[in-house]
């Protein structure tokens, strides 16, 4: 899935030609590699949810790697500034948002851009869908996608992430990391379900905004007709008895 053409060299082992050029190019290729590593790690973290109880050791190691990259990116300044309302929260919240975003964005072939990271989890899709949250986060290019009738897969994959968001909103204690490692009931989703967005378009959630994304029906008239036909059928059966 991650068949990128990037060279997969680790820090300190760069032998590519770019290293000979100005430091700028080296830095950019390094940050690209780092970004791809971050994306890969987030996908791995997410995947390990789906199957038999995930291997805790592996999850912890991947999460630590993600944290490491995150810290480095923060130091570099490539990690976008935190939205004010998220400032008071634990740094791990950023990880939370990263994960949620990447879950939703996963269907878009892992395009989880760096700017999307680091904002509180009120950003992005959540802010568009859930006006209940007091999100003042800057508009994100991705958000426009969610506003429109995005492809069904995106919506399908939303459900898990949205459920989690709603859970965290309810409990007011975002603890997505706990979801990773918790030993309590965790939602068990079929891998296929999430991958294919099989949930059949948006299910009405407790959030108004979501309904705005309900799949386009074929047309009110045709649906009415079919409804009427069904109604007749039902009445027939009832009358017969």
């Amino acid at each position: 899935m991650f068949a990128r053409g990037l060279k997969r060299k680790c820090v300190g082992h760069e032998e590519d030609v770019e290293g000979a050029l100005a430091g700028l190019k080296t830095v950019s290729s390094y940050s690209l590699q780092r970004q791809s590593l971050l994306d890969m790690s987030l996908v791995k973290l997410q995947l390990c949810h789906m199957l038999v109880e995930p291997n805790l050791c592996r999850s912890v190691l991947i999460a630590n790697t993600v944290r490491q990259i995150q810290e480095e990116m923060t130091q570099d300044g490539t990690w976008r500034a935190v939205a004010p309302q998220a400032a008071g929260r634990a740094p791990l919240d950023r990880l939370v948002s990263t994960e949620i975003l990447c879950r939703a964005a996963w269907e878009q072939e892992g395009a989880c851009p760096a700017p999307g990271l680091g904002d509180g989890h009120t950003q992005g899709p959540v802010s568009d869908l859930c006006p209940v949250t007091s999100a003042q986060a800057p508009r994100h290019p991705q958000s426009s996608v969610w506003e429109m009738d995005g492809p069904r897969e995106n919506r399908g994959s939303f459900h898990k992430s949205l459920d989690q968001i709603f859970e965290t909103l309810e409990t007011k204690n975002p603890s997505c990391m706990e979801e990773l490692f918790s030993d309590v009931d965790s939602p068990y989703y079929d891998l296929d379900t999430v991958l294919t967005g099989m949930m059949g378009g948006a299910r009405p959630g407790p959030c108004e905004g979501l309904e705005g994304l309900a799949p386009a029906t074929p047309g009110p008239s045709s649906s009415c007709k079919s409804d009427l036909g069904e109604l007749d059928h039902v009445v027939e059966i009832l009358v017969e008895t």
């Binding site: 190691l61 603890s175 706990e178």
Partner: protein, 629 residues
């Protein structure tokens, strides 16, 4: 509370290969269809599937047995009454009683050469009756019959004595002797003794070996697989009649240790894969071992029986109740000799002790207690008590968000019953003394090597995660395996290991790819030899490595059918990394990362090693240097 067991597999067919649940002739066997041979088994107290209690079957009368059965005891400690023997398996395979003195071993391969040829298709189902009674066939694992036996044909008389020709002497006469590989004495001259396992390219996942362990004398070798089955091999005693059949490991017993379970609370499956087997020191005629999957540890007792009582008053020979009107006199049952039979029964089931996945178990030197470690906690059990255990290490943080380190392996000290060590995913070892406190969260000693700043990368932490820790037999040293190295630690020095050996440093530049394909999380085991002079560990491409601590020489050998000619000395392999490439070298990019040797074991006293390569078990022996030094 106790959860009901799921029965005999109806719900699992979506997860498990179909052939596991089909008995002979395509019928789905279940406890109901298996013949009732014994009193109805009482329900097992733990959430394990209960097996029907099979009776013993007449087996071929070789002193080393084949038959096995597993009978759950509702009341551990009380053996099942010995039922009448001899019933017929469903499907018609009739195991007629074999003559008392067999002329030859019935299931041997005819000759090494034939064994090497294209294996003929197996005959129609050969599942043994006790397997049928257990409700499933033994899948496709042809342990006894596909074994490459090297002792079948008596070898020609050795042409000339001498260390080098000794390796050649045992080849059959009509076969051109292999080119003599002159092994360096310190590299040892390992040859393939035995190879057990199916030769098919398609490996059933249930047959993948997940653990290998010799017992304390080396007489028995136990293997566990992903399908929850345990196979025990017994070493043939050396006999003068057939000197070259010395020390072969034959199948002693096979039993289903763990079944897949379903955790209803979490809606997750609990795999039946055997994570670890540990033998208990033998205290009487019976052998005992602990086997564990992710959640449940079981104590199995392996006994031999060569006598059975005959002349019951209430039951006839077939085990059926007699019509009381026909009983005219009472008799005392008499013990009569019978074919030797091996019985395996679960004596204790230690369940519900762990929230996370058990990664190691270790029997204490006091032979009364043992510990089991999962990702975050270590529990101490008493071998006789199943309903409670003591938590001795707990590294679970109050807030799971703060979790950054897990326990990866643990072991008791071989001599000091109060000391144990556990390793972590951050590469540290903690030696704990149980006398210090009830909860050994504070370590007595912390063994940690400072990070090498020049080698730092995003993967530094992952590759420093210790996958296995083993005390030396002397108790003075510890051996740890992380992704790229094995290290020897002196218990008296915490600052750094005393020896570090590179297992496959050529992978250091490939870490990103190995991270992507998850190979970087592979957990390799390591082993000491009996004299603590050589250490061994596995690698990829079915390679395994041995490091001699005294001479500082190391060797890479391969466990594969192609490169292991019977009796020929294994040729050392080399991975070239771009420098001068020799003829038989293999390049790093040609390594097969799906063929990994994770589990290895070394005989406690002799130079015999057991290597698990996916679904195959290789037993190598160094006949030249058979004494350890």
């Amino acid at each position: 509370g106790r959860r009901p067991s799921r029965g005999d597999g109806d719900g699992w067919q979506r997860r498990l290969p179909r052939d596991r649940w089909v008995g002979q002739k395509g019928t789905l066997l279940s406890a109901a269809t298996a013949p009732a041979l014994a009193p109805t088994p009482r329900p097992a107290p733990s959430p394990c599937a209960s097996h029907p209690v099979p009776g013993p079957a007449p087996r071929d009368p070789r002193p080393a047995i084949r038959a096995s059965r597993s009978s759950p005891s509702a009341h551990p400690g009380r053996p099942q009454p010995h039922p009448a023997p001899r019933t017929r398996a469903p499907g018609g395979a009739s195991w007629a009683r074999l003559p008392a003195r067999p002329p030859a071993r019935p299931r041997r391969e005819p000759s090494p050469e034939e064994a090497e040829e294209e294996r003929p298709p197996r005959p129609a189902p050969r599942s043994r009756p006790e397997d049928a009674r257990r409700g499933r066939s033994l899948r496709s694992r042809p342990w006894p019959s596909s074994r490459v036996s090297l002792a079948a044909r008596p070898p020609p008389p050795p042409p000339a004595p001498g260390p080098r020709s000794r390796a050649l002497a045992v080849l059959p006469a009509d076969r051109a002797p292999a080119a003599p590989a002159a092994p360096a004495a310190d590299q040892g001259s390992w040859c393939l003794c035995q190879l057990n396992g199916a030769a098919d390219l398609e490996v059933s996942e249930a047959d993948i070996i997940s653990t290998v362990e010799f017992n304390h004398t080396g007489e028995l070798l136990a293997t566990g697989d992903k399908g929850g089955r345990v196979v025990i091999f017994q070493r043939e005693p050396e006999s003068k009649n057939a000197p070259h059949s010395q020390g072969e490991y034959d199948v002693y017993s096979t039993f289903q240790s763990h079944e897949p379970e379903f955790d209803y609370l979490k809606s997750l499956e609990i795999e039946e894969k055997i994570n670890k087997i540990k033998w208990l020191p033998q205290q009487n005629a019976a052998h005992s071992l602990l086997s564990t999957n992710d959640k449940t540890i079981k104590l199995w007792k392996i006994t031999e029986r060569d006598k059975r009582p005959e002349g019951y008053n209430l039951k006839d020979e077939e085990g059926k109740l007699k019509d009381l009107s026909t009983v005219t006199s009472l008799q005392v049952p008499v013990l009569k000799p019978m074919d030797l039979m091996v019985e395996v029964s679960p004596r204790r089931i230690f369940a519900n002790g762990h929230t996370y996945h058990i990664n190691s178990i270790s029997v204490n030197s006091d032979c009364e207690t043992y510990m089991s470690a999962d990702d975050l906690r270590i529990n101490l059990w008493h071998l006789a008590i199943t309903d409670r255990s003591f938590n001795i290490v707990d590294i679970k943080p109050a807030n799971m968000e703060d979790l950054t380190e897990v326990i990866t392996a643990s072991e008791f000290h071989p001599h000091h019953c109060n000391l144990f060590v556990y390793s972590s995913s951050k590469g540290s070892l903690r030696l704990c003394d149980m006398r210090a406190a009830a909860l050994c969260d504070k370590h007595s000693k912390l063994f940690e090597e400072p990070e090498d700043p020049s080698n730092r990368s995003f993967f530094s932490e992952i590759i420093s995660s210790v996958s296995d820790v083993k005390f030396s037999h002397s108790g003075r040293y510890m051996l740890t395996r992380d992704y790229l190295t094995v290290k020897v630690w002196d218990l008296n020095m915490e600052a750094r290991p005393i020896e570090t050996y590179q297992v496959h440093d050529y992978l250091r530049s490939k870490l990103c790819s190995l991270y992507e394909n998850d190979c970087i999380f592979d957990k390799f085991e390591c082993a000491w030899n009996g004299s603590d002079s050589v250490i061994m560990t596995g690698a990829y491409n079915n390679f395994f490595r041995m490091f001699d601590r005294n001479t500082k020489r190391d060797v890479t050998l391969e466990a594969s059918r192609e490169s292991s000619k019977p009796r020929a000395v294994l040729k050392p392999r080399r991975v070239c990394v771009g420098g001068k490439r020799r003829r038989d070298d293999i390049s790093v990019d040609s390594l097969d990362f799906t063929k990994k040797i994770l589990h290895t074991a070394w005989h406690p006293a002799e130079n015999i090693i057991a290597i698990a390569a996916t679904n195959n078990l290789y037993i190598f022996q160094d006949k030249v240097n058979s004494d350890m030094h």
